[in-house]
């Protein structure tokens, strides 16, 4: 770390892992190594910075931008200019303000989806992998049920119920999350199946730890790496799914907006008012691309031995 961030002069040296021995040197140094490897991954680090800028801009958008997303300005259908960075639409909405607003909604949905489906997937996987036998069988058939169904179709069916209701973004997040947890459940199950046979689990059990403690304190922290990577990539997936729903008319309802809605509306006029289509689209792709790079960098940092394969 020293070569990246020299300690400020005059301040006491930050605690190193040597001084933290009594607080469990294993855990500290492992995650420290991960951090160091991640910081060395230049593309991932750059992506993280760009992503942070985009996220902060999206959430602070209301106060940063010159216009609010529902302001009707005097200029309509003008191309990008210094006044309107991303141009304006037919009734004078500032596209930049709208993009920021849409990105905020899209990101909120995506974070919620990642949180929900990661917790649920990890829970299912943990239970199946830890208890094995009949519980494993039932839970995995349940997982199969969700994997066999063409996801988009069912997603549309469920989302159609909430079509056009304002404030439906919460419902949509739950719907997307309901179809995004399966891969993680399988991964966590696999890790648990192998970890539960290890000596440290036996030791914990000999010390009188119950199932809950073993799962939460011993097994889960040891499978955190893949879970984090998966959650990161899920944010990217969720953004793309949300936009697909919005595009087909089953997503975020007006007057609220999302990147998907903006692009869908812009696509109609892409030839004459290109900025309405390309600006939100590029913003969307940039977010999604950064998330994927960060996820890939995390994967490399957490498990450098793993071959770099996208499953």
């Amino acid at each position: 770390m020293a070569d990246l961030a020299p300690p400020p002069v005059g301040l006491p040296e930050p605690a190193t892992s040597d001084q933290l021995v009594e607080f469990g040197v294993e855990a500290t140094s492992q995650w420290r190594r991960v951090l160091r490897r991640f910081l060395r991954h230049r593309l991932a680090l750059a992506s993280l910075i760009v992503l942070l800028v985009l996220v902060v801009a999206s959430f602070m958008g209301g106060t940063l931008a010159r216009y609010r997303y529902d302001d009707l300005t005097a200029d309509f259908s003008t191309g990008p200019s210094l006044r309107h960075w991303f141009g304006t639409d037919t009734i004078g909405h500032d596209t930049f303000a709208q993009v920021l607003r849409g990105a905020r909604r899209s990101l909120l949905v995506a974070f919620l989806v990642a949180a929900l489906s990661t917790s649920f997937g990890a829970l299912i996987g943990a239970l199946a992998g830890y208890y094995r036998g009949i519980i494993d069988l039932i839970l995995m058939r349940f997982t199969d049920l969700f994997l066999t169904i063409p996801t988009l179709a069912v997603l549309l069916v469920v989302a159609a119920r909430y079509r056009g209701q304002s404030g439906n973004w919460l419902a949509i997040s739950f719907v997307i999350a309901a179809f995004a947890w399966m891969p993680l459940a399988r991964v966590v199950r696999g890790i648990f199946l192998s970890l539960r046979e290890r000596e440290f689990v036996e030791a914990a059990r000999a010390l009188g730890a119950n199932d809950r403690r073993i799962i939460l304190r011993h097994l889960l922290p040891n499978s955190l790496g893949p879970i984090i990577v998966n959650a990161t990539l899920l944010v990217g997936t969720a953004i793309v799914i949300e936009t697909a729903l919005s595009f087909l008319g089953f997503g975020i309802a007006p007057p609220d907006t999302s990147l998907g809605r903006l692009v869908a509306e812009g696509a109609v006029a892409s030839r004459t008012r290109w900025w309405l289509f390309y600006m939100p689209g590029l913003y969307l792709v940039l977010i999604s691309l950064c998330i994927n790079f960060v996820g890939d960098g995390l994967r490399d940092a957490i498990d450098p031995q793993q071959k770099r394969v996208r499953a």
Partner: protein, 325 residues
């Protein structure tokens, strides 16, 4: 292997039944009125509407309606749409259109992905490898509909610039086209280009990464070194020894991803204005046309199962070890 496949097939039957029930209830109880369109038409009497309601079983409880649907579906009768059209021929017609896109795009993406992925592995960390990796990430991050709309937009611009139609951007074929077999299929092929390019670029991104990883693993295996040491030409080692083994995992991934491709096709079709399965589903959902939605899911679920079966059989062909066990 076949026993395993058959067992999985048996497992998927209750899965399909369960999901068909869930979907039926979700669509049927969504709370809108499937006949809203009819009510808005002037001159349609209340008696007509009631008759139609009765014909479509809309006046019965949901569970009974599901029972009626299952009874029909088992006999191959998928019922009628809200517009009183027989669902089965309608679905089959649309299926033909969509499968044209799906199969063509899958075939092209597999070939290109295997080529690019293998090249990337053979020349690891070369300029080619880095470029391929970067673009894989870019296309992987793109929503299908944005790429589709982008290609359509660029296609239109190209047509305008050239002053003649180079790319077809609307529909699956020219309406009212008459001519022989060759004329019709050339026309259809022309309409296929941009929609399948959309699917190919996105699928290729994921699959080429997968093929690269699998090829790298194989190239580092001992038997490849042995083959080289025996003096076998590098081309033969590459194609005969390495590629054949490296393709095995990819085949499985292609089959698993089939549902995803179908989803992508739904969106691509919508963008390019095809009257395929995608349009059918979206339209049916908007008016809560339960019979059409049900038939749609049934057919796609069967397709997914069939593709998984196909992958297992291919697996056996590519990997002789799995044949005997």
């Amino acid at each position: 292997m076949l026993a395993f496949t058959l067992r999985r097939l048996a497992v998927s039957i209750p899965v399909v039944i369960a999901s068909s029930f869930i979907v039926f209830v979700l669509v049927a109880t969504a709370g809108g009125d499937p006949l809203a369109d009819l009510r808005l038409r002037p001159g349609v009497s209340e008696a007509t509407i009631q008759l139609r309601r009765h014909q479509l079983n809309l006046d019965k409880p949901v569970l009974q309606r599901y029972g009626i649907w299952v009874k029909g579906a088992v006999r191959g009768d998928l019922g009628r749409s809200v517009g009183n059209e027989e669902v089965r021929p309608l679905l089959l017609r649309r299926l033909g259109v969509t499968m044209r896109l799906v199969l063509f795009a899958t075939l092209v993406s597999v070939i290109v992905a295997v080529f690019i992925g293998s090249m990337g592995a053979v020349k690891q960390y070369s300029k080619f490898d880095y470029t391929a990796t970067f673009f894989a990430f870019v296309f992987f991050s793109m929503p299908v509909f944005w790429l589709a709309a982008l290609l359509r937009d660029q296609g239109i611009r190209m047509n305008l610039r050239l002053g003649r139609r180079l790319f077809f951007v609307v529909g699956e074929q020219t309406p009212g086209l008459s001519g022989g077999f060759v004329t019709v299929w050339l026309d259809r092929l022309g309409h296929l280009i941009l929609p399948s390019l959309t699917l190919v670029l996105i699928q290729m991104a994921a699959w080429s990464r997968f093929q690269r990883g699998s090829m790298l693993e194989v190239l580092n295996a001992d038997y490849i070194r042995t083959a080289r040491a025996k003096g076998i030409s590098s081309a033969r080692v590459l194609f005969h020894h390495a590629l054949r083994n490296a393709m095995i995992p990819v085949v499985t991934v292609v089959a698993i991803d089939f549902a995803t491709i179908l989803g992508g096709a739904v969106i691509t079709e919508t963008v390019f204005g095809w009257t395929g399965m995608g349009r059918l589903l979206v339209d049916a959902l908007k008016v809560q046309d339960v019979n059409v939605v049900q038939a749609w899911l049934l057919v796609t679920a069967v397709l997914v199962v069939v593709f998984n079966l196909l992958a297992d059989l291919l697996y056996g062909y590519l990997d002789p070890r799995t044949r005997t066990t």
